[in-house]
Each structure stands twice: as structure tokens, then as C-alpha cells.
């Protein structure tokens, strides 16, 4: 993000990808970098919460089932601390996750796994680039 760029290029939105599966995480990171995001990565909920506090990403794309700190709980912490308000969760059981999250006063967007990148990108874009 260099301010010395001649053109007033729109600021690259920041996306934090959180998944304990290295392969999926790195593929997702690569894909979103290709479509113009600054991408941060975290391997579990604790790392994600720390990273969100320091870097304030625009959107967090997070797996639900992770060791140490799960996605739903991490999303709750991030929302409570106002590190970000835009958390997208990924799960194999989206309905169950949505229900679990609603018990904690959250209404996150939950994407069904296996992920379709096109759907995922549409959702993230709509959150990160409002007005696009």
C-alpha cells in the first residue's frame, strides 16, 4: 500500500483467512491476492484474534472447526472487541453453525464447505468493497 502511487488506486481491502488446514488456507490466500486483496493468514482462532487486533482486517474468512479456539468463539471475541464486524465462517454444517452463532448473539454469514470460490468471492467482495 504505497501512497506514492501516481493514480489514486482504491485502497486494497484486507482479508484475514483463518483455517488450520494449510493447503486450503494458502490456496484461498493466493486466490484472494490474485483478485486484489491484501491477505493475512492465521492457523487458529487465537492467532486470528491477535492478528485482527493488530491489523484490523476488513473481512475475516474463518473456518469453524479449529483446534484451541474455534471459529464461532473467535468471531464472538472479534465482534465484542470491535476488531472487525465482518466475519464470514466456513463450515460443513452451515445451518448448525448459524444456529450455534445465533445463540451467542451473532448473525454471521456461513458458507457451505466444500467452498465454491465464486460464491466466496462474491460474498467477501460485497462486504469489503461496499458500493461496488
Amino acid at each position: 500500500m504505497s501512497a506514492s502511487q501516481p493514480l489514486p488506486e482504491p485502497r486494497r481491502p484486507t482479508l484475514l483467512v483463518v483455517d488450520d488446514d494449510y493447503d486450503l488456507r494458502s490456496e484461498l490466500a493466493e486466490l484472494f491476492e490474485r483478485v486484489g486483496y491484501r491477505v493475512l493468514q492465521a492457523a487458529n482462532g487465537i492467532e486470528a484474534v491477535e492478528m485482527a487486533r493488530e491489523q484490523r482486517p476488513d473481512v475475516v474468512l474463518m473456518d469453524v472447526g479449529m483446534p484451541q479456539l474455534g471459529g464461532v468463539r473467535a468471531a464472538e471475541i472479534m465482534t465484542l472487541l470491535r476488531h472487525t464486524e465482518q466475519v464470514v465462517l466456513m463450515s460443513g454444517n452451515p445451518e448448525l453453525v448459524a444456529e450455534a452463532a445465533s445463540h451467542r448473539g451473532l448473525a454471521p454469514i456461513v458458507l457451505n464447505k466444500p467452498l465454491s470460490f465464486d460464491i466466496c468471492r462474491r460474498v467477501i467482495d460485497s462486504l469489503a468493497k461496499p458500493g461496488h
Binding site: D23, L24, G65, G92, N93, E99, P114, L115, F117
Partner: protein, 559 residues
């Protein structure tokens, strides 16, 4: 009589109703004797008058008591109920009992009672022997009963142990043979919709015997016990197999339930009229015992099934997660590869080589297939998780659901030579439903139809061939949309029609059906505010779903 009573003062001891009074001198010679009522045998009066009691006593059949009478002479003790008996010359027997107390002059005063009949000893011995015999017989009988009860209990215990049907029936027959005499006994259960099969018989030659459907069997399956007095004489029972009619003359038939399936218990005998209507009650009890015995097994199966389902559900969730993760990675990696090539081409400002175009199309195919595999996994997982059904209702396109069903079942239908046809009006309103639940209902009905067609073909020994139709009817005005799923599988037996939606009821062979499918369907349909019903048509079963149509809610403030 009052005269005599005055003359002879009555003794204190009056343990007997007196027929006569007597008085004896010190030497026990009967000085006076007077009858008190007409019941007194004149022969006794004649005999005792002037007789010596102690001598008489010597001739009694109780010599010990006779001696005791002599001994009384010295002690002057009261005589209590001394029984004497003697035969008259003509062979008649006279018995009498004397009771007396010492009189003032050293003699005795007392009353007597006359008995008739056999001499005491014989009479008593006879009675005793009879009593002993009876006691002995009772003891034997009691022991036999006890043994019998032990055996019955053991049989019952064996019966309530879960065990294979054949073992269970053997135990059952064993128990029955103790309660009811028969030559052979059979358990007959439904094999297919229109044929019954002897599954177990006391005579192995009768096992596997096929029974046509008929009035007797219908009656038995509907819960009526009946006795067929003569199999040869009556023409009205043609539905007994010929082998049975040749070998046996009379039959007792009682309904039986194996699990939730109607079956019957048949006892056979060679003698015409051997079984009587009075034995029906017993037979009915027996079939009740049998039903209970089979229920134990069924309950065990229910438990196993439930456990299996739970495990299956968990297993599917784990598998779905484990597989969807790598599938996601594949889809993403492929997408990355494709984007990489496209970026490269953009940078070079070219459309890329022909080979690159091929690579990109292959990558697209890999991507789509990975996502499709994911969808299949999602559908399977949905089926394994009935809990999802309580989630929200939204507009659902019935066409979309039918397409999904076609994708999910096309492989297994094609393998069996079954065609699936979907009919829907060109315009159909959306349904108000949970898409996942509705898809599960459709899938269940199609899979049931498929299995019914396959079973029907198997029982006719023909290759499977059939059609399943899903027809959507929307009249555009009512608040419900109808969907019918029909098959060519021969239909549902009428006697189980009202039980098919019960949990754990299945017509499929043991192990191939959980008996939960239709039960789940009904629950799902009711949850969604719809309904499900079944009927038979000439070709097979028709399941009718009624699903509420989706009505857009009027915006707030609209007129």
C-alpha cells in the same frame, strides 16, 4: 323314650349324638339298654342286651381298645367313644360306639351310637388307602406339575432370549407341545405381497412350503383364531396347501405378530375333528405368548437400528468433513492455476495458445466435478441428519428438488433398469418448505419405489424393470400443491396399509430397511405443514404429498 331317659341317668360325656342309653354292672354286663330314637338299629339293642362289654370288645376289631375296656374295670375311668364292630350271622355288619362314665354301683352308665356300613377296619383301611393313594398321586402330580412348570418356565425363558427366528420357533413348539397335543406345528409368515411361506415347522419337510392367499389366511392375518374341523370334508378352505390337506385332517390357526408383521401359527393333526373350538382360547393364548416372544427380538432390533443410525449419522458427519476439506482445496487450487494462466495471458496481452485453452477447460472440469462431489456429500450428510428439518421454511422450487433427486438416484435406478419420469406443469408456484427436508422426503419415496419394483421382480424371478413417476399438480388456486410419487412395484399389502408410516415398520427383507424412512417422511411433512398419504393403484403404490404453496407476504402498509 322319656321313660328310658328317666331310668338311665345320662352320663356327663356326651360327645356323641345318642341313639341309645345303656347301663352296665361292675362286670361290664349290659343290664339295661333302651333305644332313644328310630335311628337306632334294633339289632344293636338285641346284641347288647345282657352281653358282656369286655367280651364283646374282645371280638371287636380294635382288640387294643377291647383290652382297654377290661382295664377300665379296675380304674373306673370314663369310656370315651369306644368303637365296636361285629358281623351278624347273615353277613351284615353292625358298628356302634359307646361312651360312658363310671356309675354309682361300680358299673357304667352311658350312651351309644349305631353306625352302619362296612366294618371299621375295612372301612378305615379303605379310606386310608384311598387317602394315601390320593396323597401319593397328588405328590406325584405335584412333582410332575412342578417339573412341567420348571420346563415351561425354562422354555419361556428361552423364548424371551433374543435369538434367531428358527431357534425361537423351536422353543415355541417345544412349549406348545406341552400344552396342546398336535402332530405338527408351523409358523407361516408373509413372503411377498401375495404369498406366504412356512418359515419354521416341527417337520422339516413342511418348511419352505408356500401358501396362497385366501380367506383363512386373511382371517388369521387380521387377528382371528379359527379351527378347521375337517380339512378333507370342507371345500371352503382351499387356501391350505395340498400337501397339508393330504397329510392332515384338522387344523388350528391363530394369528401371530412377528415384530410388526402379521403371521400365523398353525397346529395340525391327522385325526378329523381332533381340535375343538374349545381349544381356540388356548391357541389364542399360545399365539399371544409367541407374539410377546417375537417382540423381544423386535425390540432388540429397534435398539440396534437406533444405535446404527446414530453411528451412521456421526460417521457421515465426520466423513463429510474429512472429504469436503480436500475437495475445497482441489477446487481452490484449480481455480488458482486457471487464474495464473489467465493472468499470464493478460500480461502478454494474448488469448493464449490452443493448448492453454484446453488446459483451462480441463481445470474448469476438475473444479466443477470437485464441487459436484461436494454437493453429493452434502446431500448424503443431510439424510444422515434429521435434526436439520426444524430449520426455516422458504420458497422452494419443486423442479429444482426433482432435478436433485434425479441426480442422486440416476445411477442406482439405471443399474436396476428403472426409469424415473418427472412431470410438472410449465408454471408451478414455489412451495413453502425446507428444501433439505423436502428433498429427503422425495428421495425416500423414490428409493422405496425402487426397492418395491426390485422386490416384485425378484419374487417373479424376472429381471428388474419398472417406472417411477413424480407428478406435480398445481391448480394455481388452492393453498396446497400436490405431488404424487407412483411406482410399478405391485403396491402395498392392504393389511399393512395403515402401519406403513409407523416407525420401524418395513416390508423389506431383514437388514435392508431401517423401517424409519416413511416415518421420517411423515414427520418432515407434518413439520412443514404438509401431509403424506398412500394408496394402491393397479400398477403399484402411490404416495401423495400435499405441500403448502409459498405465498408472498403482503408488504406492510399495503392496502
Amino acid at each position: 323314650m322319656a321313660n328310658a331317659a328317666d331310668v338311665v341317668p345320662l352320663p356327663d360325656l356326651l360327645s356323641l349324638a345318642a341313639d341309645f342309653t345303656w347301663r352296665a354292672g361292675p362286670d361290664l354286663r349290659v343290664d339295661e339298654i333302651s333305644p332313644l330314637d328310630v335311628g337306632c338299629d334294633p339289632a344293636v339293642i338285641q346284641l347288647l342286651r345282657g352281653a358282656r362289654l369286655d367280651r364283646l370288645a374282645q371280638r371287636t376289631l380294635y382288640p387294643a381298645q377291647g383290652v382297654a375296656i377290661s382295664a377300665l374295670l379296675n380304674r373306673k375311668a370314663p369310656m370315651r367313644d369306644v368303637a365296636l364292630s361285629f358281623s351278624q350271622r347273615d353277613g351284615a355288619v353292625v358298628n356302634f360306639t359307646l361312651t360312658g362314665s363310671p356309675g354309682g354301683d361300680g358299673g357304667y352308665v352311658g350312651v351309644g351310637k349305631v353306625w352302619s356300613g362296612r366294618p371299621f377296619d375295612e372301612q378305615h383301611r379303605g379310606e386310608l388307602v384311598e387317602l394315601l393313594e390320593r396323597a401319593e398321586a397328588n405328590r406325584n402330580r405335584e412333582m410332575r406339575l412342578r417339573e412341567e412348570a420348571d420346563v415351561l418356565l425354562a422354555s419361556l425363558r428361552a423364548l424371551i432370549q433374543p435369538s434367531p427366528l428358527a431357534d425361537k420357533c423351536a422353543d415355541l413348539f417345544n412349549l406348545f407341545s406341552r400344552l396342546l397335543r398336535f402332530d405338527e406345528a408351523l409358523v407361516v409368515r408373509r413372503r411377498t405381497r401375495d404369498e406366504l411361506l412356512t418359515v419354521v415347522a416341527t417337520d422339516p419337510a413342511l418348511t419352505g412350503l408356500r401358501w396362497p392367499l385366501g380367506e383363512v389366511i386373511d382371517a388369521a392375518l387380521m387377528g382371528e383364531a379359527l379351527v378347521v374341523a375337517d380339512l378333507a370334508a370342507t371345500r371352503e378352505w382351499p387356501d391350505f396347501p395340498d400337501i397339508i390337506r393330504e397329510r392332515f385332517r384338522t387344523a388350528l390357526v391363530a394369528p401371530l405378530t412377528i415384530g410388526s408383521e402379521a403371521a400365523m401359527l398353525v397346529a395340525l393333526h391327522r385325526t378329523p375333528g381332533y381340535f375343538e373350538p374349545s381349544q381356540l382360547a388356548l391357541m389364542q393364548r399360545l399365539s399371544l405368548i409367541a407374539t410377546q416372544a417375537f417382540q423381544v427380538d423386535e425390540q432388540k432390533n429397534v435398539l440396534i437400528n437406533t444405535a446404527k443410525l446414530a453411528t451412521l449419522g456421526e460417521l457421515m458427519t465426520v466423513i463429510a468433513h474429512e472429504i469436503s476439506q480436500p475437495l475445497s482445496v482441489i477446487a481452490m487450487a484449480v481455480k488458482n492455476a486457471k487464474l495464473a494462466i489467465e493472468t499470464e495471458n493478460e500480461r502478454n496481452n494474448s488469448v493464449g495458445t490452443a493448448e492453454q485453452a484446453i488446459v483451462i477447460s480441463k481445470l474448469d472440469r476438475i473444479h466443477d466435478q470437485a464441487l459436484r462431489a461436494g454437493e453429493i456429500i452434502g446431500a448424503i450428510r443431510t439424510l444422515a441428519h434429521p435434526d436439520r428439518r426444524t430449520l426455516g421454511l422458504r420458497p422452494v422450487s419443486v423442479i429444482e428438488i426433482m432435478d436433485n433427486i434425479r441426480h442422486l438416484t440416476e445411477g442406482s435406478l439405471r443399474n436396476r433398469g428403472i426409469a424415473l419420469y418427472c412431470h410438472a406443469p410449465s408454471y408451478c408456484r414455489p412451495l413453502r418448505a425446507n428444501p433439505v427436508s423436502l428433498q429427503q422426503v422425495f428421495l425416500n419415496l423414490v428409493v422405496n419405489a425402487r426397492d418395491a419394483i426390485a422386490d416384485a421382480a425378484k419374487s417373479r424371478n424376472e429381471p428388474t424393470r419398472g417406472e417411477i413417476h413424480i407428478s406435480v399438480y398445481d391448480d394455481g388456486t388452492s393453498d396446497r400443491i400436490q405431488v404424487e410419487v407412483s411406482d410399478t412395484g405391485g403396491g402395498i399389502p392392504p393389511d399393512v396399509m395403515n402401519r406403513i408410516f409407523d416407525a420401524f415398520f418395513t416390508l423389506k427383507e431383514v437388514g435392508s430397511g431401517t423401517g424409519l424412512g416413511l416415518s421420517i417422511c411423515r414427520t418432515l411433512m407434518i413439520d412443514m405443514g404438509g401431509s403424506i398419504s398412500a394408496r394402491n393403484e393397479s400398477a403399484g403404490a402411490v404416495f401423495r404429498l400435499e405441500i403448502p404453496a409459498y405465498v408472498e407476504e403482503a408488504p406492510v402498509g399495503a392496502p
